[in-house]
């Protein structure tokens, strides 16, 4: 662990009281931040400081702090989850910054993800897309066939797994110049499309999920690939191509 001295930083943070009120960037100073601290620990220190000064601490989503729950969601210095690849905000460490740096901290920006306070956004649109088709329609009775009854080609099983590692954080939407949710939706569509269990209702699934995605007000995909670069789980836009295929197959060919 590096034995560097503490960092002194200028933070520009988006503050917004509620969804209805207007927000603005505010400037704060923090000092003596250990380079071994995580970014969110730095935010904790800022908040302790604000509480001490009698101000309201900055609200932000976080929970697991190990890069898997998908809660944390900060747009740091112009990138979702900040600099660094395949990490979430909570996995970003202060050693990535230099003493004296100015850091911009903003919420995800998308019409479909309204800000509800400071850095906290409402991502329930993702839940609604999931409710439209992000599942396989089997009852959880336990009376299904034996788990090994259908062998699954390892390559497909692995691809399905890779797609399934999506943590639903929304970095794809935040990074996309169009605030498109296609990486998120395609990851779920792909996971199931690649498994025999999921093929059965593949057509209906993709139609329904795309429909709700469109209704929620996300933008369209321009294939810039920003999402896959910023995705903390490195999910590939290959999945978007697969979703396009699945969708066209489902709608143009029909039943």
């Amino acid at each position: 662990m590096s034995a560097n001295k503490g960092l002194n930083l200028t933070l520009k943070v988006w503050r917004q009281k509620s969804q209805k009120e207007k927000g603005q960037m505010e400037t704060y100073q923090v000092s003596d931040i250990s380079p071994d601290s995580s970014f969110l620990e730095m935010m904790d220190i800022l908040n302790e400081q604000l509480i001490e000064e009698g101000k309201e601490p900055v609200a932000f989503d976080h929970d697991c702090r190990e890069g898997i729950c998908g809660s944390c969601s900060m747009y740091i210095n112009g990138e979702a989850h900040g600099p660094g690849r395949e990490i979430t905000t909570c996995q970003l460490h202060m050693r990535e910054f230099k003493n004296g740096d100015t850091i911009y901290i903003e919420p995800w920006r998308a019409k479909a993800f309204p800000v509800i306070k400071d850095l906290v956004v409402d991502r329930s649109a993702f839940d609604r897309i999931m409710a439209a088709g992000g599942f396989i329609s089997v009852n959880t009775s336990g009376n299904t066939q034996d788990a090994n009854a259908i062998p699954i080609e390892k390559a497909n099983a692995d691809k399905a797994f890779d797609a399934a590692t999506c943590i639903g954080c929304g970095a794809c939407v935040a990074s996309c110049k169009n605030a498109s949710a296609m990486l998120f939706v395609s990851a779920k569509v792909s996971q199931f499309a690649l498994l025999p269990q999921g093929r059965v209702e593949a057509k209906e699934r993709v139609r329904n999920m795309v429909k709700v995605m469109d209704e929620e007000g996300f933008g369209n995909c321009s294939n810039t690939g920003a999402c896959e670069v910023e995705c903390p789980k490195g999910i590939s836009i290959e999945n978007i191509a697969r979703m396009n295929r699945e969708y066209l197959n489902a709608t143009l060919k029909g039943e």
Partner: protein, 229 residues
């Protein structure tokens, strides 16, 4: 036919239609380039092909309308998507680093597209409107000049005399190149054509196409500009 409406008003359907129109444009562009390039090699062959294309019923009454539809659909939908996409993010970031994760070309298709569109306007004014005028308004389907020779080559060369026009031409094609550096491979992705083995090849082919074709057009323009004096 409500499925047609549903499909092509969906996000994925629009992507697909955009890609289809673009694909058609790219094939047309290749064809257009080939014919134009012949003008560098042989005046007569160029004239003959031009006359054939200009008077053939299939080309004139089937392909040409399709082309017009494709162009119009492509740019209208380009603007529609751009507006919709902009609306999907109402409040912009105070600090955004797009270059960290994507190419400038891919983020600015509307810019390169708009320049190409402006050029297309000029191009229509230069070639297409006079063509239509001669052929269908004046009813002269001969394709001949007063001296009895074909008019196509002369008209082509004549347009490249003016250095300003050549300059505009060059700029437009540089932007078209940028448009295609992203667009070519993107169209395949939009149509769902992606494959571990072939996609890298498509990307390479795309880069070759995106550079070679516009460069070829520029070459033709410069060639005639420099040789016409």
């Amino acid at each position: 036919m409500s499925w047609v409406k549903n499909t092509f008003s969906s996000s994925v359907g629009r992507k697909f239609a955009m890609a289809l129109s673009a694909l058609f444009l790219m094939i047309f562009l290749l064809q257009h380039f080939t014919i134009n390039f012949i003008s560098v090699l042989s005046k007569d062959t160029f004239n003959e092909i031009s006359h054939f294309m200009g008077t053939n019923a299939l080309v004139q009454f089937v392909l040409q309308p399709v082309l017009i539809f494709a162009v119009v659909y492509h740019f209208v939908m380009g603007f529609v998507l751009e507006i919709k996409n902009r609306n999907a993010r109402e409040v912009k970031y105070a600090m955004n680093k797009g270059s960290a994760n994507s190419t400038w070309f891919s983020r600015n298709m509307i810019v390169s597209g708009a320049v190409v569109l402006a050029f297309l306007g000029l191009h229509f004014y230069d070639f297409w409107i006079p063509e239509i005028n001669v052929k269908y308004v004046q009813g002269d389907m001969s394709g001949l000049l007063a001296d009895g020779s074909f008019r196509y080559y002369e008209e082509l060369v004549h347009k490249f005399v003016d250095p300003v026009r050549v300059g505009i031409y060059v700029v437009a094609f540089v932007l078209l190149s940028m448009h295609l550096l992203h667009g070519f491979a993107s169209a395949f992705q939009s149509m769902g054509a992606r494959h571990a083995k072939y996609t890298p090849a498509i990307k390479k082919l795309g880069n070759i196409y995106a550079i070679a074709i516009p460069a070829g057009f520029i070459f033709i323009a410069l060639f005639h500009h420099l040789t016409s004096h």
